[in-house]
């Protein structure tokens, strides 16, 4: 387990929080707890009420979608990335299933507490939301490219 002093250092070094103010790191550290997932463990399922937001410290996580009885991996996330952004934004159900592909170490944050902290201190909330928005924007861009199916023998889908 990471000691609370080391927790601050760990958060400072996490790529998602690069440039975060020390006071905001302290705020996050007070809410964080370390979690581990075994290889192949499902972290959350599609449709689960979202509750935790995670910062991945090591290991690899796959986001999966099940359609027509088939499960497809649509994205993998690794150390330095975040998982479960929707829980930090609102109470909603998960859009994907997340599965640990290796042993995964992460810091978990309760979504309700995070949202409360954002309401209490707007500067903290703004800093967090800015980072989340940039993650969501780059994932959206990546999904758009995936949908284009650029390597298809027919060429990218344009209509």
């Amino acid at each position: 387990m990471i000691k609370s002093k080391n927790l601050v250092e760990t958060l400072k070094e996490h790529a998602f929080l690069a440039g975060f103010r020390p006071a905001h790191i302290d705020r996050l550290a007070a809410m964080a707890h370390e979690v581990h997932f075994e290889r192949d463990q499902v972290i959350f399922r599609e449709g689960d009420e979202s509750s935790f937001f995670y910062l991945i410290l090591s290991g690899k996580v796959a986001l999966e979608v099940t359609a027509l009885g088939k499960t497809l991996r649509v994205q993998t996330l690794r150390e330095g990335e975040e998982l479960g952004w929707s829980s930090a934004m609102e109470t909603s159900s998960k859009h994907f299933q997340a599965r640990a592909l290796t042993v995964v170490r992460a810091l978990a944050f309760d979504g309700a507490r995070l949202r409360e902290a954002c309401e209490q201190e707007c500067a903290f909330g703004y800093a967090l939301m800015r980072r989340l928005l940039s993650v969501v924007a780059s994932r959206l861009q990546a999904f758009r490219l995936q949908l284009l199916d650029m390597y298809s023998p027919e060429g990218p889908k344009t209509s």
Partner: protein
């Protein structure tokens, strides 16, 4: 741009070479090795990034990049994805049959210019084939270059080319190979996501990095954005372009891209040269 004139006949006449081997890479992609037809015949040397015009008798001719090791003389290696009439005829040809070859043609990857620098290769789909000779060259002259980073994306795990070679290259010092697929099934434990998502996993030193990129144009556009955002200059980004070709020597005008003929001025261009025209065509 010069006025169109007739091409000299010798560069227009294919030389018959013997198809030595056809190796299946994926469900639709095959690697073909051409060898000399006789003891007297000498197959030409090539520079990484160059292409040949391959002619299948009674079917047609098309441009295919050379995908083999430039240091290995006496054979020409091509990796072909069957997408239509001529590529299908090529990959279903049998060892022993004759294939017409013209070339090699076109510009090369900037390997001499990259001495002492980090080489970043970004490939998508069949785009790894024209880059393989550059990778093999860097590996053969490992001490002449800084880090070698290969970021490679394919549609699915079944579409990844040269898988064994890719994993073997990862053991070479100062070499990092990362693959990803757009979609993976449950048995795939590697990365999933478009090739641009791999940039998060590498730290580039922009002032000393030369990027060589090949893949669908839409992919290259997004890769260029990532490279520029990480501080690479227009002149350090090199892209391989595809256009329909006929003569391959700058005479017919089929492959025109803005003021350039892709066959003669390319297929490899710096982004600095292309940026005005990439945005205008298809992108």
């Amino acid at each position: 741009m010069s006025a169109l004139t007739l091409a000299p006949p010798d560069v227009m006449i294919p030389v018959a070479a013997r198809l030595a081997t056809v190796d299946k890479e994926t469900h639709d992609t095959f690697t073909l090795t051409l060898a000399a037809n006789s003891r007297e015949q000498e197959l030409p040397a090539f520079a990484p990034g160059q292409f040949s015009m391959l002619y299948v008798f009674a079917t047609g001719e098309l441009p295919i990049s050379i995908s083999g090791d430039p240091a290995e003389r006496g054979k020409l290696v091509y990796t072909v994805r069957s997408v239509g009439k001529v590529t299908h005829a090529l990959v279903t040809s049998r060892p022993g049959e004759s294939i017409g070859v013209r070339g090699p043609f076109g510009t090369a990857w900037p390997l001499k210019e990259s001495y002492g620098r980090d080489v970043l290769i970004v490939a998508g789909g069949i785009g790894l084939a024209p880059l393989r000779p550059a990778i093999l060259h860097v590996l053969r002259h490992r001490g002449d270059y800084g880090r070698l980073i290969v970021l490679y994306g394919a549609r699915s795990p079944q579409d990844l080319l040269f898988r064994k070679q890719l994993s073997a290259w990862n053991y070479v010092p100062d070499t990092l190979i990362i693959n990803t697929v757009d979609y993976g099934g449950l048995s795939w434990r590697g990365n999933v996501g478009v090739v641009t998502t791999l940039f998060r996993h590498v730290r580039l030193q922009p002032a000393r990095t030369t990027a060589m990129v090949c893949g669908p144009e839409i992919m290259m556009r997004y890769v260029v954005r990532e490279l520029l955002a990480r501080g690479l200059s227009d002149e350090d980004i090199h892209l391989s372009m595809e256009r329909n070709m006929k003569c391959a020597v700058g005479f017919c005008g089929h492959c025109q891209l803005g003021p350039y003929f892709v066959c003669k001025d390319g297929p490899i261009f710096t982004y600095g040269k292309l940026k005005r025209w990439m945005d205008r065509y298809e992108l």
